[in-house]
């Protein structure tokens, strides 16, 4: 069957097999020479694509929940939205969540996903107490900070290349209400936008939407948003009724029909000015704050048949400002603006292939059009020169050298992979493109 991930590019012919028990998973691994795990396919690119796919969403049982301590164990194919529906009523929340809840726990660990609270709470891997890994040779290893620590670190962010994550135990975050108190602040240029991240370093959630079409004085104009979970006394009285003021959906609402550069420009201005007029705090629901796009099923298809690309990079703090400026200039001269630009501040990373490093990360969505690949190649050069790297979960196209220069610990990862997977059983289109199976240098 034809399979593609969220951005519909690439689309490849693959044999997909699913499993319901550890034994079945082991059989599948034993019977295929080359395969790659795939969760809900919410990555943008080819990290979970290959000729043989082990599909995990059928393996999704809850194993244990300790509602007093906030510890949850479940099978790797469980989706975050299923997890939320179970833990929220017990007063717990995910310690880290990406911008969609329709991902599997295994996929989220394998990408070591970050949320809007990375600067304080790190990536998901930090909250994994332990996990069970089915190695390509058919062994089940328990991995944690204390047991098999090197493997544990590398599996978080390891893109499914070291083994199949069977289950994980994570620690949850206590929650007093299902509401978020948030505030949006306009920033008239890049410096101001970036400064808000520093002045709001103590805020749990911070993120910014950027208008990539501004030039000169207004280059990097955007809306900064910060939010906190409402304490119980701050939450609206009736938990059932949605909050009176609609949860705003920064940074994701976009009129998908207005896809011309002029349309995007007009939208950006309108959006910026409308949101800028709001002052003070707003209350929004967890869904609209964290997962505004989940309400629109299959919005990814609106980009058309060819699909789109998401370009997400992180630059070290010291070079973030100049780097972002250069990148925005490149985009401006290209004439095909991204539909979406989201800026976040990251803290320290963990695993050898984990994306995070201290600095600013920008995610840009581009429809696939003539010229976009050469634009991204040009952006690669900027990112590479400034010591940045590209997020593997969002990558469909980067060249080998980008990975090896951006991730200095990739060598360590490949050494470990040789040990755990001497026959190179686990391999994706991405891992082959990037030389993650054998050390190319």
């Amino acid at each position: 069957m034809l399979v593609s991930n969220w951005n519909n590019c690439p689309r490849v012919e693959a044999a997909m097999r699913s499993f319901r028990s550890q034994e079945e998973a082991r059989d599948i691994l034993g019977q295929t020479d080359r395969c790659i795990p795939r969760g809900l396919g919410r990555s943008y690119g080819d990290c979970s694509l290959g000729e043989n796919i082990i599909s995990t969403p059928g393996f999704r049982r809850f194993i244990h929940l300790d509602p007093a301590k906030g510890i949850l164990e479940c099978e790797a194919g469980t989706s975050l939205d299923q997890i939320l529906s179970v833990i929220i009523p017990h007063g717990w929340f995910l310690p880290v969540t990406p911008g969609t809840s329709r991902v599997t726990l295994g996929g989220a660990i394998a990408s070591d996903v970050h949320g809007k609270n990375h600067h304080l709470h790190g990536a998901l891997g930090r909250h994994v107490l332990d996990l069970r890994l089915l190695t390509p040779q058919g062994h089940v290893l328990v991995c944690s900070k204390n047991e098999n620590p090197a493997i544990f670190q590398a599996v978080c962010g390891g893109m499914g290349l070291l083994g199949l994550i069977l289950s994980a135990r994570i620690s949850l975050m206590p929650l007093e209400s299902v509401f978020i108190r948030q505030k949006t602040i306009p920033a008239y240029d890049l410096d101001e936008l970036m400064s808000f991240f520093d002045s709001h370093h103590q805020s749990t959630y911070t993120v910014a939407w950027m208008d990539c079409l501004q030039r000169g004085r207004h280059l990097g104009r955007g809306l900064f948003m910060h939010g906190e979970h409402c304490r119980s006394h701050e939450a609206p009285q009736s938990q059932l009724i949605p909050p009176g003021c609609k949860g705003i959906s920064i940074p994701f609402t976009l009129p998908f029909r207005a896809l011309t550069p002029a349309g995007i420009k007009a939208f950006n201005s309108l959006y910026f000015h409308r949101k800028s007029r709001r002052t003070g705090y707003e209350i929004s629901s967890i869904e609209s704050f964290f997962y505004p796009l989940d309400a629109l099923a299959n919005w990814n298809l609106l980009y058309g048949k060819k699909g789109f690309l998401q370009y997400q990079f992180v630059l070290p703090r010291s070079t973030s400002r100049s780097g972002l400026q250069k990148i925005l200039q490149h985009i401006n001269s290209f004439g095909q603006p991204p539909y979406l630009a989201v800026l976040k501040l990251l803290g320290k990373g963990q695993g050898p292939l984990s994306f995070a490093q201290p600095g600013y990360t920008l995610a840009l969505d581009f429809p696939i059009r003539p010229g976009v690949f050469s634009l991204l190649n040009a952006l690669d050069r900027v990112v590479q020169k400034l010591g940045g790297r590209i997020y593997l979960a969002k990558d469909a196209r980067m060249k080998k050298h980008m990975l090896w220069e951006g991730y200095p610990r990739a060598k360590e990862f490949v050494e470990l992979k040789k040990r755990l997977d001497p026959e190179n059983k686990l391999s994706s289109l991405q891992s082959r493109r990037l030389g993650l199976c054998q050390n190319p240098y």
Partner: protein, 244 residues
């Protein structure tokens, strides 16, 4: 446990999907089948998701002699029984292998009679509850491709219809479920027409509705009722020449 539903053959895809529906509606559950270890994991999952009680219990449809003890050893008497076990078997093998046709007949028919006989008596005493049996459209007419399987399912359909007749007025309802194509592990190697094929979740929703809405016989997908009406109405003289 209060008012538990016993699912026989709880490892099947339709049964698993139905267990979620029942769990969400707060029924406690017994998950019965041969793979006890997996059923216990399924039970734990359902308990955590729906805040219900669920247990995995060992049950072998072919071990007829054990059925009465099995049923009576359940801690709480079931309020409802869903019969979901069955095998497709290998029809061409069944033409030459006694072992194969016995397996098909005994799993899809004899085993059902055996356990449902016990269940029906206990439910009748309790004067409430239901039996839902998953039969098949294959039992509506004999076809060259699967008549051993079909004849066992026909037997099951008739058994359920007779049981419904017997228990009418006793407070116990009997529901016959006739799935057409369902995309499950049982049919994983078959090529099925997408428009006529249900997902296990769709089939489970239909069964759940039949249980709660007091229906007698349901087809899932619903269109199979009409397809089978047509197929049943073809005169045998013509049907025997056809290959459908």
């Amino acid at each position: 446990m209060s008012k538990p539903v016993l699912i026989l053959g709880a490892g099947s895809d339709i049964a698993r999907a139905l267990a979620h529906q029942l769990g969400a509606a707060k029924y406690d559950l017994y998950l019965a089948g041969r793979n006890l270890e997996e059923l216990q994991k399924d039970a734990r999952d359902l308990e955590i998701r729906y805040a219900i009680k669920a247990r995995g219990v060992y049950f072998d449809a072919l071990d007829f002699a054990s059925h009465e003890d099995f049923y009576d050893s359940l801690e709480t008497r079931p309020y409802g029984v869903v019969l979901a076990f069955g095998v497709l078997g290998d029809e061409s093998l069944a033409r030459s292998s006694r072992e194969q046709w016995e397996k098909i007949i005994h799993t899809n028919y004899t085993g059902c009679v055996s356990i449902l006989t016990v269940a029906a008596n206990r439910l009748e005493q309790a004067k409430e509850g239901f039996v839902a049996g998953i039969s098949s459209v294959a039992g509506d007419r004999g076809r060259a491709a699967n008549y051993v399987y079909g004849s066992a399912k026909a037997g099951l359909s008739i058994f359920l219809s007779g049981l419904r007749n017997r228990l009418h007025g006793s407070g116990v309802r009997v529901i016959t479920v006739k799935p057409g194509f369902v995309r499950t592990r049982m049919t994983r190697d078959l090529e099925l027409p997408p428009r006529l094929t249900a997902t296990p979740e769709q089939a489970a929703r239909d069964i759940f509705q039949a249980i709660t809405k007091k229906r007698d016989i349901i087809y899932t997908l619903w269109i199979w009722r009409w397809i089978m009406l047509v197929i049943k109405s073809i005169p045998e003289k013509i049907f025997k020449r056809m290959s459908i």
